[in-house]
Symmetry: C2
Subunit: 259 residues, 2 copies
């Protein structure tokens, strides 16, 4: 049965998609895991980031989620061109799902239920969440065993981490007792901007102490360039620091999941 | 009657809040306009960005929007400490409004109707939208005369601009015939990263040509530092390039609104 890792943050632009894609790719490439990347964000940026080797369209995840019958997320999966990594296809219909889920009985459990069989086909499922705490994002958290929270060293991003940690603990009490915070991943750390970084890092450490992951992702233009080329960072610039740092993140995650 | 400018982008982290706050502050400080900043994002980052001079709490915008009676956005307004600039207070209740609006008759017109009297009290109303195309963001667009679309020079942000332009033209046909795209504002432009910038800029120019604004905002750490201090860029670092660029943006907007 797969371990489900949701990559979530209410704050926009902190590196959720970049981290979800890079982590999933590293788990498949360097740890021989069978990995599924589920894109719960109507923006569909997983498919954009991997567009050079993924099919442009595929079966609809929205239809699976909106279907009251027995369909599975597996029915909306396509290969990514990376060995061991599948992903859900781009689906413009996902935008409507946010509203349509709002009136369903047990609306928070829809994704978890649609992963019941899918989980038996993979070792790890990584979920890229949209930048909010709406119905799709909540579905991602309720389906998850672990939550990875990217945060860039900025006051606005920091404010969202506490709100999300609060949401996760509410979900743990009411909907998903086994959810755990894998950690806060500091992203886009700019080596030149030390005064603000240090102020933010010490605020995160004070607020979240042990939850701050030992791995940090520095600012690196190769990540956006890889997305422009439509490939993951390991295919685009395997020797760059960001590739190294995301590989270390995958090593850390595998270590954590093993315990 | 105030001109309403919505600052919108589905992509997260492209500088919507930073641009909304900086533009509104510049219009009040340098053009003597009476300005209202409406925060439609449940994250409430307008209040975070101005927290050193704004009251921490205030009347609830969510209650105004959810109220079927005659209340106005004006009932949820507080001073910001900047002469000529008011804003809606932080309101944790706004998160629930997204779902609650979903089932209302004429759900897209709620904000427009609640601005009917409010518009007579200001020269410009600037709306900070959340990073999606949900009910709150659509309300912002339907209430708007002009839409400012921040975009950073990244492939993922570029993809969202076309989707938003499509939504704006649907809104123009069905809900708000006078809406116009003020332009695409290039933000976080990093002088060191010219290859990707040039590739993205030429893709934007090809897709949106004249809509690309003549003013661009360079990457500048002072913007996040100002937010950490809870003041606008003009109070924090008035001589920096970002302050100059946002002042030029305000000059351009005033020129456009005058025509
Ligand atoms: N470490 C980094 N260094 C430099 N750029 C980065 C880094 N991580 C992410 N980026 C860039 O920052 C932007 C935001 O990242 P990304 O889109 O992954 O964030 P997100 O949280 O998924 O955004 P959204 O809230 O819109 O879903 C992208 O253009 C991406 O290429
Ligand atoms: N020109 C710039 N240079 C450097 N940093 C910037 C610039 N503009 C914005 N930022 C920083 O980038 C981050 C994202 O900006 P901001 O929060 O304004 O974007 P947003 O689009 O409102 O995000 P969200 O989608 O979460 O609402 C913030 O930490 C902000 O301080
Ligand atoms: Mg994303
Ligand atoms: Mg914002």
């Amino acid at each position: 049965n797969a371990v489900v890792v949701a990559v979530a943050a209410q704050k926009g632009g902190v590196g959720k998609t970049t981290s979800a894609v890079s982590l999933a790719a590293a788990l498949a490439r360097f740890h021989g895991k069978r990995v599924l990347l589920v894109d719960l964000d109507p923006q569909g940026h997983v498919a954009t980031a991997l567009q050079s080797t993924m099919p442009a369209t595929g079966p609809s995840l929205a239809r699976v989620l909106q279907d009251e019958a027995e369909s599975e997320v597996l029915d909306a999966v396509v290969p990514t061109g990376i060995d061991g990594l599948d992903a859900t296809a781009y689906d413009a219909g996902l935008a409507a799902t946010e509203d349509l889920l709002g009136t369903r009985i047990g609306k928070e459990f829809v994704l978890r239920d649609k992963l019941r069989v899918t989980r038996t086909h993979y070792d790890v499922i990584v979920i890229d969440c949209p930048p909010n705490q709406g119905n799709l994002a909540i579905n991602g958290l309720v389906a998850a065993d672990q939550v990875l929270i990217p945060c860039d060293p900025s006051p606005l991003a920091l404010k969202g981490v506490a709100a999300l940690a609060q949401t996760v603990s509410t979900i743990a009490h009411r909907l998903n007792p086994q959810i755990d915070v894998l950690g806060v991943l500091l992203t886009r750390v700019d080596g030149r901007n030390t005064t603000l970084n240090e102020a933010i890092v010490s605020e995160i450490e004070e607020a979240f102490g042990p939850a701050l992951l030992p791995v940090r992702i520095g600012i690196n233009a190769s990540l956006a360039k890889a997305q422009h080329a439509g490939t993951d960072i390991f295919a685009f610039d395997p020797g760059c620091r960001a590739a190294q740092q995301y590989r270390e993140l995958a090593d850390h995650v595998v270590g954590q999941l093993a315990t």
